[in-house]
């Protein structure tokens, strides 16, 4: 049956002001799947690469837990190796996995489909973006194999130690790391320009900004943050690169290393810290904002209820983004800053709790009296809200200077940031994959296996990170290879470390079940149809599933409403897709309108 084409409503819809740009059509297999310019393929390339390198970082965390849980048992994990594992785990997870997956993966897949575009506005640049990202990943991987190994300076790469002898990978390792970061930033900028301009310019008719699904808002604002914050990482990487290779003294003070006076003089390591955290703090929200957006859509769809306070949600995203630029020095309370600065940064940090709390209340109020369906995506979405609140609360501790000082560089900090920007966004990644996998492949992921995966991951991560807060309160430092027989540390702390390690292995292993589910369901999964979740947004209204090149068939959809028309009384179905004209909505007419395209 032919799909009801909204374009027939010429009375309502004036002609578009911008003509459609002809699409690039690949002719060969390689052009279609390797050097692809289709955002959906690029999204999958990004996602597979990010998840691949993320698995490496997951294995690194296992090795770290082996050492921490069972010190002196594994001789091949030396202090040098340990520091390299810590550094690479952090760097990969934050930048090469989460940033790339949320923006490059979900951004590429969802933005064109959700705004009703055929593709990104600059498909060629979009393709380049992925290949430059892949180059950055490869440079990072190469650093594992160079003499001296990868850098062990911590993911923060603080100078002077990052480039001094004695730090693991202080020559080739750190060099490749800095180059890889600079390359990553260049690649990201190419992609980021695409995401922003596509949202601004390529929305279909009727898709006003205030009708965009919150997923798009989250990714859009995160991209703006990233475009403005990544230059700070670029600047610090370039300047440290020059300190390392040409002997400039941007960051390097006059110092004596191994009894020798080095040629550096007058540089300021704090300068690096300012630049790094000027990127580093917005980075938290570069990861969190897409998660906020996606969770809003998951909750509304699976609770069959319109999102509570849509405009407030959009403004909260903007305010959080803005505030994230004025809190960076709360990562530097122990650097000896002026007390008034500390006061300023503590205040701004705590103020972020306000828009964030608004979002949490709105999620809860959306769930309130909703027709909640505990599907796997919904479970992950609700788990995210819990975890983000938990991680956020320990952030209130650390945001205060007096509380932060004793807790700085302890396991408490590790627990905090893993809850808030590790586990919480990863829960959203899982929820989003369970939610959109049917659209990407045309098949459902296995539900029982998904629930097993969910419960082990959710409960397991609490088993890992809750006790870590306690270790932190005892004063157990982070980044230490072994604590040894330190007198203030009781035996129970060692026992707790064993427990955490065991939990980490179980949670890690559960991810293999997820990977199995991804592969197995691709071939054997239940066919999903075009709109299995009965969602309103445009990506579920495509004539084919998975969407083909060009996304929407012959004519682009026209949008008449926001993305949250769920639970509408008096209708046969409880939702109205965004592209259903108002005239078609009355109950008697509703039966004639196909609520989703049958491709």
């Amino acid at each position: 049956m032919a799909t009801h084409v909204a374009h027939d409503e010429t009375d309502f819809a004036p002609p578009a002001e911008v003509a459609e740009v002809p699409l690039y059509h690949p002719k060969t297999f390689i052009g279609k799947y390797v050097w692809s310019q289709d955002a959906k393929i690029i999204a999958i390339q990004y996602a597979v690469t990010a998840i691949g390198i993320g698995l490496v970082a997951l294995v690194f965390s296992w090795l770290m837990r082996l050492q921490l849980g069972f010190p002196n048992r594994f001789e091949w994990i030396t202090p040098t190796t340990y520091l390299q594992l810590v550094s690479m785990h952090g760097m990969i997870m934050v930048i090469y996995l989460l940033t790339a997956l949320f923006l490059g993966g979900f951004g590429n897949y969802l933005i064109p489909l959700m705004v009703g575009a055929r593709d990104m506005v600059f498909p060629y640049v979009n393709m380049l973006s992925y290949w430059v990202y892949l180059l950055a990943v490869l440079l990072l991987v190469v650093s594992f194999f160079v003499p001296g190994g990868p850098t062990g300076a911590g993911w923060t790469l603080y100078p002077p130690q990052a480039i001094l002898d004695g730090t693991p990978g202080s020559h080739a390792g750190i060099l490749l790391m800095l180059v890889s970061l600079a390359v990553f930033v260049i690649g990201f900028t190419m992609g980021g320009l695409n995401y922003v301009v596509t949202v601004l310019q390529a929305r279909t008719r009727g898709m006003t900004l205030m009708r965009l699904p919150l997923t798009v808002w989250g990714i859009f604002m995160a991209t703006i943050l990233a475009l403005l914050a990544f230059p700070a990482l670029f600047v610090s990487a370039i300047m440290m690169f020059l300190d390392l290779t040409l002997g400039t003294s941007f960051f390097m003070p006059a110092l004596v290393s191994k009894g020798q006076q080095l040629n550096y003089s007058g540089g300021n390591p704090l300068l690096f810290q300012h630049l790094f955290w000027f990127f580093g703090h917005p980075e938290v929200y570069i990861v969190a904002l897409p998660a906020f957006g996606i969770v809003s859509d998951l909750i509304a769809t699976h609770a069959r209820k319109n999102i509570f306070g849509y405009r407030m949600m959009v403004w909260a995203i903007l305010i959080i983004g803005g505030l994230s630029f004025v809190v960076w020095a709360h990562h530097m309370y122990v650097s000896g800053m002026h007390p008034y600065f500390g006061f300023f940064f503590a205040t701004t940090t705590l103020v972020i709790a306000v828009p964030t709390a608004i979002k949490v209340y709105n999620w809860v109020l959306t769930l309130w009296r909703g027709n909640i369906r505990l599907t796997v995506p919904m479970l992950f979405a609700i788990a995210f809200v819990f975890t983000f609140v938990n991680g956020g609360l320990s952030g209130l501790f650390l945001g205060n200077v007096v509380v932060d000082l004793p807790l700085s560089d302890t396991m408490f900090v590790v627990a905090h940031f893993h809850m808030v920007m590790g586990i919480a966004p990863v829960l959203v990644v899982f929820g989003a994959i369970y939610h959109w996998y049917p659209k990407i492949t045309g098949r459902m992921l296995d539900e029982p296996l998904g629930k097993v995966h969910f419960w082990i991951t959710f409960v397991g991560t609490y088993a890992i990170f809750y006790p870590m807060h306690y270790l932190g309160f005892m004063g157990i430092p982070r980044r230490y290879y072994a604590i040894g027989g330190t007198s203030f540390i009781p035996d129970s702390a060692h026992l707790l470390n064993v427990w955490i390690s065991l939990a980490a292995f179980v949670v890690g292993a559960a991810q293999m079940a997820f990977l199995y589910n991804l592969v197995h369901s691709y071939f054997r999964g239940k066919p999903s149809g075009g709109n299995p979740w009965h969602a309103t947004t445009l990506e579920w209204q495509t004539p084919q599933t998975p969407p083909t090149h060009g996304n929407f068939g012959k004519e682009l959809p026209v949008v008449y409403r926001w993305a949250y028309d769920y639970g509408i009384p008096g209708l046969k179905t409880d939702f109205i897709p965004q592209n259903v004209p108002p005239a078609d909505v009355p109950a008697e007419a509703w039966a004639k309108v196909p609520h989703h395209a049958d491709g």
Binding site: E9, A13, G206, R211
Partner: protein, 231 residues
Amino acid sequence: MTIALAFLTLLMAVIVGWLLRQTLNVQPWQAQPAGMEVSVLTPRPAIQTALWVFLAVATSLFVLFVSAYSMRLGLADWTPLPRPRLLTLNTALLVGASLAMQWAVHAARRAEPADLRRGLAIGGLLTTGFLAGQVAVWMQLNDAGYLVSTSAASAFFYLFTAVHGLHVLGGLVAWARAWKRAWRDADPARIRLAVQLCATYWHFLLAVWVALYALLVSDVLGLAICSSTPL
């Protein structure tokens, strides 16, 4: 970092103003016939929006370099360089290039292809001259014994000029494409757009250079990168 914050505040104000326009008096939960809402699609070409977004990113980059400079400034080992005389000439070349680009835009608007090509050619030539001049300045400083690692001041000198120079080089790539289009393409609208984008970018590069140049020679403020001793 005050400078970076000032830039971001400005940018935030722009974004807040833009979003206010989109949200005030808008009730997204009410369905409407498409086309009834404020600003459906802006007729501005996507590439133009992309350029402006890119300029914001590039500004962020330069602002952060300048922030780093302003924080490093007061510390030890800040030995100003002599001021290369050639910088004045280079600045004049870049001003000329920017004017020539603007002239090309006017020619494109008046549909005078000969003037357009002339403007583009002069703009490209002067820009190449600017880059050559910058390299000459580097060589002069190098010969005078001011290497990149000599002091923080010289390191910032090389850094600023190199980063700016790379942006100019990137501009020349876009310029070459506009040039090709001006010679081959018959579609005047496309040529006009290309030239217009080039001109916008050139004005941006000039503005950045003027700001950097002021930092290089602003010894009235105290510790500039270059002293008043000419080279």
